[in-house]
């Protein structure tokens, strides 16, 4: 058996734009995710980066089955999650769980921590017998570094970092193989952020988890990821090992994104060649023809408007890059 635990093929999610109230007609579509192929190996962390509105979070929701894809496949351990229904789907979902961004809104304020972390057992009663649930919840709290005696407390009695730990405990309850982390540390302060990152890394070693780690903070992604995929307007524009992406990016968007990250070292001030992109990300309801980045790209030529570049290994790019003019550019080592 191969080591691929998660694979998507041609994953697409279009949200319809409708007009009218009673007689709704579709007048267009927001192409949030538009053909994403990715693979996740066992025990590996795949980082997904991109600006807001590029489809990162929609991708996360698709992976865990919170949204139904318009087309495409999501294979988890060889089963296509999109086709599964009913009991089979519920069973398959156990293998892929999610940690959400905002620990302040993703925990029900009226439920105790014990109920929150134990809720997956209610939905999947055959995982742990009823009698063993309290013990299982306490074990989970212990694993994530919370005091097991706090099961009867409510979320508001915990700090932000502790709440994120509760979210992680909940995701671990069903012993999943894959955890999709959607911006798990972006709502936390730096010192707390480090605690949660260390916890995630420790859990990965201990339990052999695979992570999809979605974040906009490029230095955090670099720290935790083995491979990185860069998204722009619903598509992956560049993918590869963390060293390849961060030190030899070949797609202009990746280069611009990396050069915009401030480096926490004042000695490098003025020495980095910063690429400042003009304008904003175009609307995903009406993406540019051909290459979607061409409207902000300094390398754009006529071909970019006519032909969409495929995500593939190119002459001047050792890893897949979706640019006709892909070429490595040495970057200053960023934080």
């Amino acid at each position: 058996m191969s080591d691929v635990v998660l694979e998507t093929k041609g994953l697409v999610k279009h949200f319809p734009i409708t007009r009218g109230i009673v007689f709704q007609s579709k007048v267009g579509a927001v192409r949030a995710v538009d053909g994403v192929d990715l693979q996740l190996n066992r025990g590996e962390t795949l980082g997904v980066v991109g600006e807001s509105g590029c489809g990162k979070s929609t991708l996360a929701k698709l992976l865990v089955g919170l949204e139904k894809p318009t087309s495409g496949e999501i294979n988890v351990r060889g089963e296509d999650m999109v086709r599964l229904k009913g009991r089979d789907l519920r069973r398959a979902r156990r293998h892929i769980q999610m940690v959400l961004q905002d620990p302040y809104t993703s925990l029900n304020p009226r439920m105790t921590v014990g109920d929150i972390v134990g809720e997956p057992f209610e939905i999947h009663p055959d995982v742990t017998p009823r009698s063993g649930r309290t013990k299982a919840v306490q074990d989970l709290l212990d694993i994530v570094g919370l005091n097991p005696d706090h099961v009867n407390r409510y979320p508001h009695q915990f700090s932000g970092g502790q709440r994120q730990r509760i979210g992680i405990a909940r995701a671990l309850a069903l012993k999943p193989e894959i955890i999709v982390c959607d911006e798990p540390v972006s709502a936390l302060d730096v010192s707390i952020q480090a605690q949660v990152i260390n916890l995630l890394e420790g859990l990965q070693d201990e339990l052999g988890l695979s992570y999809i780690f979605i974040a906009h903070d490029l230095s955090v992604v670099r720290h935790i990821s083995d491979r990185v995929a860069v998204m722009y307007l619903g598509k992956i524009v560049e993918a590869g090992g963390d060293v390849a992406i961060y030190e030899q990016p070949t797609h202009p968007y990746t280069q611009a994104l990396l050069s915009a990250v401030p480096v926490p070292d004042p000695r490098l001030r003025g020495q980095r060649d910063q690429i400042v992109l003009e304008g904003d990300v175009p609307s995903p309801a009406n993406p540019p023809s051909g290459c979607r980045f061409r409207t902000r790209c300094w390398k754009a030529q006529d071909i970019c408007a006519q032909e969409e570049p495929k995500l593939e290994i190119r002459d001047r790019s050792g890893h897949p890059s979706a640019c006709h003019f892909a070429e490595a550019r040495e970057m200053f080592a960023s934080g």
């Binding site: 600006e51 480090a194 963390d242 401030p262 400042v276 992109l277």
Partner: protein
């Protein structure tokens, strides 16, 4: 136009030789039902024209409250300024009557907020909101005010400013909205600009645009800039001096190069070590154990002692460490700053 600016110059006590902005021993507390939260406990700093001072700290350390106190927009009650002075060119702003204070705001000291969408009024066009400044503070007519608004939007590099001046805040993207805020803050040529987390809600590519814009505008006008942030990357890029705040106190103040090379306070040191860095990949990140203290129960002695690896008995008792002079232009509130600076 300058006559209104001259009016404040006529205020008694204004001394062109005095520091541009001097905050001295500022104390702010919030009186709540659950007790008194001491948000700021003796903040000190000065700002020179053209200088960028970064106030760095985690949430709840009092950095935004300090800014609100300087601007005079603190919610009172529950917030009260209990001690200290905020001097603009020698005038103590905290003693000014509200009518005089209004002339200082926007004219001399202006502020940019983190969330531009909630800082702008959603039911007026941006042109109206910008023009209001000129009409109220400068007594301009609507037509002239509109003309000035368009010029301003142009200065902050909003494309097609003439047609966008009638747009409403929701019609702008996040980065463009932040530009509108900057335009509004700069409308009356203030000498001091306070930016409270101006790019926290923005993507890195847009953040780079906004920080470049701020730097250009600051150079053009020789403004003093107070940048409040928790992002140590941004600080390293723009700051001249840094004040690190913890539990309402400035625990370390130093020029930017010194602080990154050799932090003198254990908290600064721990903060710098806890950011993910290239050369630490694969290793565990250093963490600061525990949590920041609740502002209603700040520990005796040095507020950082429960989380500090250098802490000894002295640190646990009052009085808290005074600002020791590490160098002539650098202070740290730590009894053991010599050890902290010396450690590699």
């Amino acid at each position: 136009m300058t006559d209104i600016k001259a009016e404040i110059d006529a205020l008694p006590g204004l001394d062109p030789q005095a520091p541009l902005l001097d905050v001295n021993d500022l104390h702010v507390e919030f009186r709540t039902r659950d007790g008194v939260a001491r948000a700021v406990n003796g903040a000190n700093f000065t700002l020179k024209p053209g200088e960028t001072l970064c106030i760095l700290g985690e949430s709840g350390c009092g950095k935004s409250v300090t800014a609100q106190a300087i601007m005079g927009i603190l919610d009172t009650p529950p917030g009260f300024i209990t001690e200290g002075q905020v001097r603009y060119r020698g005038i103590d702003l905290l003693k000014l009557p509200e009518a005089e204070r209004r002339k200082v705001r926007a004219n001399h000291i202006a502020m940019i907020f983190q969330d531009a969408l909630s800082a702008l009024n959603p039911v007026y066009s941006v042109g109206f909101q910008l023009g209001e400044l000129f009409r109220k503070h400068r007594g301009m007519s609507r037509g002239d005010a509109k003309k000035r608004s368009i010029e301003l939007l142009d200065q902050v590099r909003i494309p097609a400013a003439r047609s966008r001046v009638t747009d409403y805040p929701h019609q702008f993207s996040g980065g463009m909205r932040q530009r509108v805020m900057i335009a509004m803050a700069l409308a009356l040529d203030p000498e001091v600009l306070i930016a409270d987390e101006p790019t926290t809600a923005l993507d890195v590519t847009v953040q780079a645009q906004i920080m470049n814009l701020l730097a250009d505008l600051q150079n053009e006008r020789n403004m003093g800039l107070i940048l409040i942030t928790h992002d140590m990357g941004v600080v390293a890029d723009v700051a001249d001096r840094i004040s690190v705040m913890y539990a309402g106190k400035v625990v370390e103040e130093a020029p930017v190069y010194d602080i990154y090379a050799r932090p003198a306070h254990p908290y600064t040191r721990a903060l710098l070590e806890s950011i993910p860095r290239l050369d630490h990949k694969g290793r565990q990140l250093n963490v600061i154990r525990g949590l920041p203290p609740a502002l209603t129960a700040i520990p005796d002695g040095c507020a950082f002692h429960p989380r500090c690896s250098y802490a000894k008995d002295d640190c646990r008792q009052d009085p808290p460490p005074p600002p020791y002079a590490v160098q002539p232009n650098r202070t740290a509130r730590c009894h053991f700053w010599r050890e902290v600076v010396g450690d590699e």
